[in-house]
Symmetry: C2
């Protein structure tokens, strides 16, 4: 099942994507703990899609592909390295990434697989990690690389409004252990990896993060980016595509 | 005005603290954009106080007192250094700090003044910063010092559940530019500073943070800790007192 979120005019609703991505069947309330439909149906062409989830927190993982750690001159970590992106950084498919040119001169894309948590949990053992997953979506961990190097802490560099595109929807029926992931800029291939290359796999990440902080329904874990990160500039269009999910596309615009 | 939050049995409500801290006058809805009372009144002794705010995000500032930067062997930063604590780390006055002994052997208190944001804002100029402040409360930026050093990123060390005590209430009528702040452990004085010692003052912090990320009503900025940080262990009682606000007290318990 593919779960999207969209603006209906009267508010924001979840919907199940049906009929070759042409129709959204409205979900009654939220998709946690089972989906029931209201019976209302909306043509995708007539609604505005938004981020498929508004998470209370986005927990991101650094250096989780060996080839990316190497390209940044970093060692492979002994345990997952976590940081947070604020909920205010989340945008959806087709929403613009705002480049704050007065504060940074180097903004990179980072294509990633995102895990969406389906229920409140803490101290989740590896073998039960799948039970707490609602599904998967595409993410772009947009990063002001110059500020990341300057600050050491990643918060500012990765925390700007619009620096966490998620979408286009959440795929709930998927084995995410070996999916192809690509990132393109203006149609040119820049990143190409497989989720089987994750140093710490998804169950390990859920166990690690949930041993520190309680995860809430809708919380998102970004699993890290493969090699090939690089800059974008206003006017560029960046797409993160993941096998079995779809493609998340965002245009870069100047914030100033 | 002092605004607290409390559990009524039927849910959680905001209330105005009245009559020498003996009574809570229930607020209709939330305190943003003006307070109106329902007329219901609760004796403080008969309700359970919780954190005075459940923020969408807690933005914390590192190394914002020169004497604390020195005691940790760090330089004074050129601009505010920001990091995030997850909303799941927030607890209130008298709620226990859970020490995760299987993951850390060194947990420190850090007493801080917390600023509570009153309305949605971004790119706030220094001269308008006071307009976006709802009020002030006491905070403890609890930190697993060993993990902070190991991880470099502060997220895990400062992100455990219960590692962000806030309270006991929000004081809305206060000039916060020169307040005495003390931290005690089991009644012994450990930290003693004044908010006039902040390297970056509150308007500068709000301008800096809101240039990166939109702030939402209820979001919290922790302004940094003075010198004198040190460890706690299960059984200890730690109190952060700020002139004109009150005292936030939390007992440390073993999480395991």
């Amino acid at each position: 099942m593919r779960i999207a979120r969209f603006s209906t005019g009267g508010g924001v609703a979840f919907g199940v994507v049906e009929e070759g991505e042409q129709v959204l069947a409205r979900i009654d309330g939220h998709p946690f703990g089972g989906v029931s439909l209201t019976g209302e149906r909306f043509p995708v062409a007539e609604v505005r899609m938004v981020a498929p989830m508004l998470p209370s927190k986005v927990v991101a993982i650094g250096r989780n592909y060996a080839d990316h750690a190497r390209e940044m001159g970093n060692d492979v970590p002994e345990e997952p390295m976590i940081f947070l992106k604020p909920s205010t950084s989340v945008i959806g498919h087709n929403e613009p990434i705002a480049y704050p040119e007065h504060l940074t001169q180097h903004v990179d894309y980072e294509g990633e697989l995102a895990v969406v948590i389906g229920r409140l949990c803490r101290d989740v053992p590896v073998e039960r990690a799948n039970d707490v997953i609602l599904g998967y979506t595409c993410a772009n961990d947009v990063t002001a690389r110059d500020l990341q190097k300057k600050d050491v802490q990643f918060t500012r560099a990765k925390g700007f409004d619009t620096f966490c595109p998620l979408g286009p929807w959440i795929e709930t029926d998927l084995d995410a252990s070996d999916l192809a992931l690509t990132t393109t800029v203006n149609g040119e291939l820049r990143q190409s990896g497989r989720t089987s290359q994750l140093i710490f796999d998804i169950p390990a990440l859920i166990a690690h993060v949930s041993a520190v902080m309680t995860l809430l329904p809708g919380d998102v874990i970004l699993t890290g980016t493969p090699a090939g990160v690089g800059p974008v500039k206003p006017g560029d269009e960046v797409s993160v595509g993941i096998e079995g999910i779809g493609t998340l596309t965002n245009r870069v615009v100047s914030r100033d």
